[in-house]
């Protein structure tokens, strides 16, 4: 039920129009305002590509790491074989050297001479 005050308030607060040309002023203001930067979508469209690239990169890095380790293992083994080959070469050349000089073979460490 409306009271006299309610009615007076409705009359006092009746809607009024803005000054003439309001819409044009709004449009001019919109035109003069730089467009805001496009907000980046929450769901990054290239996410699957980025994930795939990351996985690929990870696989490559792991493979490279394994390859590097394997090459290091092979390199150390090759180095060991090279040193051993030179030891044996030296040993046999020493055998020939002593033969040339008429020396006899030195006793082996475990040779007691008995």
């Amino acid at each position: 039920m409306n009271t006299p005050l309610d009615d007076e308030l409705r009359k006092a607060l009746r809607p009024v129009d803005p000054d003439e040309g309001f819409a044009e002023r709004v449009m001019r203001r919109i035109d003069s305002t730089p467009a805001p930067l496009q907000r980046r979508p929450r769901w990054f469209p290239a996410l699957p590509v980025a994930l795939a690239a990351s996985a690929l990169l990870g696989t490559i890095l792991i493979y490279a790491w394994h390859a590097e380790r394997e090459q290091q293992r092979q390199g150390l083994e090759a180095r060991r074989q090279l040193i051993e080959a030179l030891h044996i070469t030296g040993e046999k050349l020493d055998l020939a050297y002593r033969g040339v000089n008429g020396e006899t073979r030195p006793p082996a460490p475990d040779d007691t001479g008995a």
Binding site: L5, D6, E8, L9, R10, K11, A12, L13, R14, P15, V16, D17, P18, D19, F22, A23, E24, R25, V26, M27, R29, I30, T33, P36
Partner: protein, 188 residues
Amino acid sequence: MKGDEPRGAADSLDRARSGDRVAFATLVRSHQRVVYSLALRMLSHRHEAEDLAQEVFMQLHRSLAGIQSDTHLLFWLRKVTTNLAIDRLRRDRKRATLPLDDDPGIADEPLESDPLLQRRLRELLALLPADPRAVVVLRYQEDLDPTEIAETLEMSLNTVKSHLRRSIATLREGLADSSVTPLSRDSL
């Protein structure tokens, strides 16, 4: 032709969403009365109201993609206008009195109404704190029921009813009193 209005409004909204400037200007014209009036009753200042109303439509221009229907548009405009006005009032507490020169609509008063009473009511309204003022404006200008006001201002229904009750009492007291004194929030 009247039956085509909702469809026309929906068309304007659709076209405005797709970037049609003319359609957006049509939307502005369709709703400028509501927005400007809310701003004016809240701020009690024509230029401030015009500036706030323009800001509301600029925000609408940026938010068109999220507006689902003409009903939603009206709800959105009321909500944004009152929220922006409340923000401005809280930011600038000095805007507690109505500049008499800016009091609108005296010339447009209906003959059967009392222009002085209308003016006094608007002066008293301008003395209310921001939230109760918004409740009263939405109730008597937009003719929203307390539930709609609660949704628009994101308040509880009880708070809206409380604001309404206290505001009416304050206005009634103000009218009865010959002198107008500023009311604090605590007095409500």
